[in-house]
Subunit: 327 residues, 2 copies
């Protein structure tokens, strides 16, 4: 940046910086979202690949490295200069060491992904947790960009959160912070995938909403199998079973968010993930239920995520750019 | 510190630094703990004063300033050089602005304590939240000193926590972070002072334990009024009502700590406050109950606080010293 102040050097330097991109991959259980991201957060290219998790973790690692290398080549062919790689994966991630410690849906166990990627691509790499980098992107570039203290909450198959202060997401001592889905909200309630009863995720995730509606509705003659989005739509249309399941989920989410606010005291809660696409059907009653629970707390703004499916790639790119700027 | 490297200057400089002390006050609802604290954390002098909260906030502010000024004079008479003032108060504290925003038991409302104290004493002042500075001290000098990620939990009349990462306590966007006492653990449970039902504080604080035991035992002929410590002792002696109340409190605390660990992912949980003085009667069953709740979590070490009643003064002093070192 300093060089841009040199007389006559401004245009050339800006142009070189404009050509710099980060290769970004957001690896999920079923698919990989991939992008080339400029320093200013502009996405110049996107791709989507299948993760193929059933092939086992070694094959997934090969695919990640192949796709990343091909993306870097694509960038170069387009006259861009790939300067770093940003990778986001789910599970327990040690961001400082660049190691995927544990990932249930991909099968990673202590995989030194950052080192592997840096060696393969010959450029600096950063490894982040999918929800934490999504939160990073929403906090810096998306719905939380005016706030210094943001809680990003992703509600999909599971529920997880990222607590972002001044643009940095807290990872915890072992890369496992932000597990809002495993906050106890209903003691003795539905069994959670983690093995405990009554976790928020067991009541209010998209899969829990669909499952609970199927359970309740199975006594009805037509035994419908509805997704969480369909449950929301049916609830809005007046289906009493759907209303019960949806209200239970909203109340449980409000309990979980109130617990989060008691501990984190943020300015803004940004809701992302599949269930958040229910929009006002979720946000309006959730905002009211959260408001009811605020006693001593300062009430946070509750807003929908703004970056959509690209948040993970943008966040992985931000993480890689942050690392480049470290002394 | 740099000057200590000058030839011949080492002894004199060290001696000057040795004479530097911070005037530290930890203001509670009933009493003020006061100390002179060296840069290395050594306490050279302690005092105790009554807060006199019933006199109203203006009188308490006067007392704080009078006591602080007298402590600075005491330091000078003893050949010490007071370099800063550290103040800890309960409630909602804006540490960045140095303002006590709200304190139920002292009656503070938007009191610019840092500015008032700095003007009166003619030296830099820092204002902190009592539990957060206690956590700061335990994390840096006490039971959490080997850990980078610490949750300090104070269990007394209420329950509050401080999340300390790398020696800094998270204050939140509005100075209200760490309210572990208001995490929901028993929906529909006992009414909390905050107005909600089933908060951790309503089941497991020292006052809740004493109150619940009194409620249960009031049907017995001798209707005992026991403190939480006495309930713990009676539980250990085989009193079934005391055992029930104590077990309920331990189970609720374990639920609250498991929620904290899911969100914060710390290495060590440091237990302080009056109830923690129950020692093994609390720690042993709580450690077992927390262990039972750890599924995906990394289990934190659960350890008793090490600094005792001086933690607040030490933390207030650390906060003031941190401010001195800021550029």
């Amino acid at each position: 940046m300093n060089t841009s102040r040199k007389p006559g050097g401004h245009a050339a330097t800006t142009s070189a910086a404009d050509r710099e991109v980060v290769v970004a991959l957001d690896v999920g259980g079923s698919g990989m979202k991939c992008a080339l991201v400029r320093r200013d957060g502009t996405v110049t290219h996107t791709e989507h690949h299948l993760t193929g998790a059933a092939r086992g973790p070694a094959a997934v690692i090969d695919t990640i490295l192949d796709v990343a290398e091909a993306l870097a080549d694509t960038a170069r062919r387009e006259g861009l200069a790939p300067v770093a790689l940003g990778l986001a994966v789910p599970g327990v991630i040690d961001e400082a060491q660049g190691v995927a410690i544990w990932s249930a849906n991909i099968g990673f166990r202590d995989v030194p992904l950052r080192k592997l990627a840096a060696a393969r691509l010959g450029m600096p790499a950063a490894l982040g947790h999918d929800v934490r980098v999504g939160g990073l992107a929403e906090a810096r570039l998306g719905a939380g960009r005016s706030a210094r203290h943001v809680l990003f909450v992703a509600i999909g198959t599971g529920i997880a959160a990222a607590h972002v202060i001044d643009g940095a997401a807290a990872a915890g001592a072992h890369g496992a912070a932000g597990e809002l889905g495993h906050v106890l909200v209903r003691p003795g309630g539905p069994r959670c995938g983690c093995g405990r009863d009554g976790c928020l995720e067991a009541v209010a995730s998209a899969s829990a909403v669909a499952r609970r509606y199927a359970e309740l509705a199975s006594t009805a003659p037509d035994a419908p199998e509805a997704s969480a989005a369909e449950v929301a739509t049916r609830a809005a249309a007046g289906d009493p079973l759907a209303q019960q399941v949806w209200t239970d989920a909203v109340e449980a989410l409000a309990d979980g968010l109130a617990t989060g606010q008691a501990l984190f005291d943020v300015e803004a809660v940004v809701l992302g993930g599949g269930l958040a696409r229910a929009g006002a059907q979720l946000l309006d009653p959730l905002r009211a239920a959260l408001h009811d629970r605020m006693t001593f707390h300062r009430e946070p703004r509750l807003v929908p995520a703004a970056l959509g499916a690209e948040a993970g790639c943008l966040g992985a790119a931000l993480l890689a750019l942050d690392d480049l700027e470290k002394p």
